[in-house]
């Protein structure tokens, strides 16, 4: 079914979220909807799914004007949303989750007709190659499969227009490829798909047409064949963006971090790091590449003192840190940008200011003799907000109300507010938009040029190739190979990521 959104305008107090936005998607087409955080993608989709009502403009499905008063009407009209945060009941099984809210019932008691629902789930799953076990419990399923359950939910409600909101944000690269296959299968069957993302590579790969939103307006609509990553990035951000990080040749000096034959166990007491040796010198960026779950997380936790190692040696700046606490490691001049900023990097319920001093509150000038110095803390936080262009109403704002990019900037600003000898950055740009990614990369290179040793762990090939002076690829708890950054190719890294040869 052809869907058209015409001249949609939606205003919130103080913000024009959508300003005469027009998009369309044909039957069997994939429309990529690209835009930075806050560009108005989510607002537009909330209008399409009946959650918000537009101030002006109209929605046409198959040529007829539809005005949705509530989400049910949108669902009845064939619009299926797959939200970024899944709306599933953990203790339900797949059949129950899919049927929930659209159950068929039998008998005068109105009993849930599980057999019928299960038949349909199995049928849809097979028809679209979703490969979902109908009897599995949601809480036991990996994230990629949960997403397919969400897609099943939409299909079960006979959706022929499917909206996927940032679907790859939670997926591994392999799961993303599976998702793309599923999307192609769906469109071949006549389903229209709107694919919302801020990742350039994905949208070029999967979309038939790409509409770029910028600050609430349509910045342009292009075909993947006629465009490039650079052009899309420029449309998104509104200025030229350096996709490749501009950096001079590394001038490596003495070894700052030395990891020797390290064995580390994960939480399930399985050996996760199976004998890794690695050196990072002052003035160079070493990237640890690899598919998520090959021991990178455990390696990083061991280096920063959060996880004890089984054997081996970790030396930072000449000090053996095998039994050091996180604070002792930090005191050696180690900045740590953790993998999951909302879980480990920030305290959502504390303010920007408090997060800014989270790992240095106990030091001068922020405190003395156990008492915090409010004025010094505020001054430092204000400075950090200015230096790192953190967009926040004030330093008293809760970290939870900042955008992802600004949250990450708070973490980076905090970590770089101390004298830094070694930077350990795990997935430093995960979930960020192009502008923020560029910004964080630039800051990392700055630290390198100032003489710090940088260790980046990333599952994003683009990032690894863009910033690394040397690339160590991890596979199954070991270093599968080390490549020079300048001469490494996607193919060479990719082969090592899959285990080599």
């Amino acid at each position: 079914m052809r869907l058209e959104l015409k001249e949609i305008t939606k205003r919130f107090p103080g913000v024009l979220a959508n300003d005469r936005v027009s998009i369309s998607v044909d039957r069997g087409e994939v429309l990529g909807l690209l835009g930075e955080n806050g560009a108005g993608k989510t607002t537009l989709m909330n209008i399409l799914s009946g959650i918000y009502r537009p101030d002006s403009g109209e929605i046409l499905i198959g040529g007829t004007v539809r005005n949705f008063q509530d989400p049910h009407q949108a669902i009845d009209a064939g619009i299926g949303m797959v939200h970024q945060h899944f709306q599933l009941v953990p203790v339900f099984d797949v059949v129950e989750s899919v049927a929930l809210g659209a159950e068929t019932v039998t008998g005068w008691l109105g009993t849930f007709d599980r057999a019928a629902a299960r038949r349909r789930v199995v049928e849809l799953s097979e028809q679209h190659g979703l490969d979902v076990d109908p009897d599995a419990k949601i809480e036991d399923l990996p994230v990629g499969v949960r997403q397919r359950v969400e897609i099943l939910k939409a299909l079960y409600r006979k959706s022929d227009i499917l909206v996927l909101d940032e679907p790859s944000a939670v997926l591994t690269p392999a799961e993303t490829l599976d998702l793309f296959k599923i999307i192609r299968g769906l469109t071949a069957g006549g389903t229209s798909v709107i694919f919302i993302t801020h990742k350039l590579g994905e949208v070029l790969e999967v979309a038939d047409r790409i509409t770029v939103l910028r600050r609430g307006t349509v910045a342009g609509t292009v075909k993947p064949a006629d465009t490039s990553r650079e052009e899309l990035a420029t449309l998104m951000v509104g200025r030229d963006v350096e996709l490749l990080v501009s950096k001079g040749v590394a001038k490596p000096a003495g070894v700052v971090l030395s990891v020797k034959n390290v064995l580390v166990m994960d939480d399930r007491l399985q050996m996760a790091v199976k004998g890794v040796s690695l050196e990072v010198r002052a003035g160079e960026i070493v990237a640890v590449a690899g598919v998520h779950g090959n021991g990178q997380t455990e390696l990083v936790e061991a280096i920063v003192g959060l996880r004890s190692i089984d054997s081996g040696e970790i030396v930072i700046g000449g000090e053996n840190v095998v039994h050091a606490s996180p604070r002792q490691v930090a005191d050696l001049g180690v900045a740590h940008i953790p993998e999951d900023r909302m879980r480990d990097g920030l305290i959502a319920g504390m303010t920007v200011e408090e997060n800014y001093i989270l790992d240095s509150y106990h030091r001068a000038p922020y405190s003395s003799r156990g008492w915090l110095h409010a004025r010094e803390v505020a001054a430092a936080a204000e400075q950090g907000v200015r230096d790192y262009h953190i967009q926040t109403p004030s330093i008293d704002t809760f970290a939870s109300s900042l955008s992802g990019g600004n949250q990450q900037k708070v973490v980076v600003a905090r970590e770089f507010s101390r004298a830094v000898k070694l930077v350990v950055a795990a997935q430093p740009t995960r979930g960020l938009d192009v502008g923020s990614i560029e910004y964080i990369h630039t800051r990392l290179v700055e630290q390198r040029d100032a003489g710090a040793a940088i260790l980046i762990v990333s599952t994003e090939l683009d990032e690894v190739l863009a910033v690394a002076d040397r690339i160590a690829v991890m596979f199954d708890g070991r270093i599968a190979g080390i490549l020079e950054g300048a001469s490494a190719t996607r193919e060479a890294v990719g082969i090592l990521m899959g285990g080599g040869v």
Binding site: G14, P326, A330, L346, A348, Y361, T397, S401, L402
Partner: protein, 394 residues
């Protein structure tokens, strides 16, 4: 701007909740006033006026009961007769006496909620604090009075702190959830007190009641005014000082910063190098200590004798109170004064108008309900939602 954001704005919702609760309470008073409603078919307007007058009488009796009569207060100022002065200020001092234990228990709950542990065991810590102080007083009777008071206070506080530390330790070491363990320890504390009060050491000779020997003849917290029948003692002043100390500790000390960080997000606190399990134990012990101090001052100041019903639910009321106070120490003091005023004012209301005390529990419950449902208050007063950054939700 900062005064507005830090003081007035957070207080706005609780104040509206209290106001709304009294309005709903009046409606309730009106429709339960059967005698008056009988006249409604004949004289609707007169009935409504009479109903409003009755409501006014009830609330003014309550205010008088809690704060005294203005004319008497004015007269007392120029009077030198202790009896006149005492009569005028007694309602206010009784309100403060009723508020004191609630300030301690409210602070104990607020500090625990602020630091991410849910101390539901304040009731138990309160009575064990009182028990510890009682034992100390009877055991060290020969120690000079001022020293004995300090010693008993320290022991009472430590008893409460220990009772808080136990669930903290269990949580930090074994992961046992503190909500469960603190609730259970409340029962253990209650039974320990009953058991102790059966011993010959504690009970009065020949008594079969669960009460201790009188303590007030040995030592008691000094009174603020030496006037007839005025019970207000320095425990209230200590309560106010503790509110200031707790506020400073939580918001201005590095330890308080650690406790809050660990409370909000244990993982991030660990990443930042904070000793998370130590924080949990300290927070629980601090919270229990506050409750224990409250129990100590109640038994040594207000009551003067340990009994198994020393606490009339102070520890449980404190949970609602901390909610009303938004877990702010200043808010706890304000909310405790409100609850205390309701308690003392309700007595006079019952005597004067025959309206049962239960109305006040009804109002108190409504306050809590409205505080817990901010969306309801917002829709009643058509307040706009201000997201923290003033930007519309995406």
């Amino acid at each position: 701007m900062t005064v507005w954001r830090r003081t007035i704005l957070p207080a706005l919702m609780p104040l509206l909740a209290v106001f709304t609760a009294f309005v709903v309470g009046s409606v309730f008073l009106f429709i339960t006033d059967i005698e008056n409603l009988k006249h409604f078919p004949g004289d609707p307007l007169g009935t409504i006026v009479a109903g409003l007058v009755n409501i006014g009488k009830a609330y003014s009796a309550m205010v008088t009961g809690a704060f005294g009569v203005p004319a008497k207060l004015v007269a007392a100022m120029s009077s030198s007769q202790p009896k006149v002065i005492a009569g005028a200020i007694r309602p206010i001092t009784e309100t403060l006496v009723a508020s004191s234990p609630l300030i301690f228990t409210g602070l104990a709950v607020a500090i625990s909620f602020r630091t991410g542990v849910f101390n539901i065991g304040v009731e138990g810590q309160f009575i064990l604090g009182a028990m510890g102080a009682t034992i100390a007083v009877l055991a060290f009777q020969d120690v000079p009075k001022p020293l004995l008071l300090i010693l008993a206070t320290v022991i009472g506080t430590l008893s409460g702190a220990l009772w808080g530390f136990i669930p903290g330790f269990l949580k930090a070491r074994t992961g046992a959830h503190e909500v469960i363990t603190t609730i259970m320890l409340n029962y253990v504390a209650a039974q320990l007190v009953l058991f102790g009060l059966r011993s010959d050491f504690l009970k009065p000779v020949g008594s079969t009641l669960p009460i201790s020997k009188p303590l007030s003849t040995i030592v008691r917290v000094p009174l603020i005014f030496e006037l007839p029948a005025i019970r207000l003692h320095y425990g209230f002043v200590v309560a106010l000082i503790m509110a200031v100390i707790v506020s400073w500790f939580i918001f201005r000390s590095t330890k308080g910063f650690e406790l809050r960080a660990a409370g909000f997000n244990l993982m991030a606190a660990r990443y930042a190098g904070i000793n998370a399990s130590g924080s949990i134990m300290l927070a629980m012990a601090f919270s229990g200590g506050l409750a224990g101090l409250g129990g100590t001052l109640e038994v040594l100041g207000t009551v003067g004798q340990m009994s198994n019903d020393l606490s009339s639910g102070f520890g449980f009321n404190a949970i609602a109170l901390a909610l009303l106070a938004g877990n702010r120490p200043g808010g706890v003091v304000a909310a405790a004064l409100l609850f205390g005023a309701l308690r003392t004012g309700g007595g006079l209301m019952q005597v004067k108008t025959g309206i049962p005390l239960d109305l006040l529990f009804f109002v108190q419950a409504l306050v809590i309900m409205f505080v817990a449902a901010p969306a309801l208050i917002r829709s009643i007063y058509r307040m706009k939602v201000h997201s923290a950054d003033g930007v519309a939700p995406q």
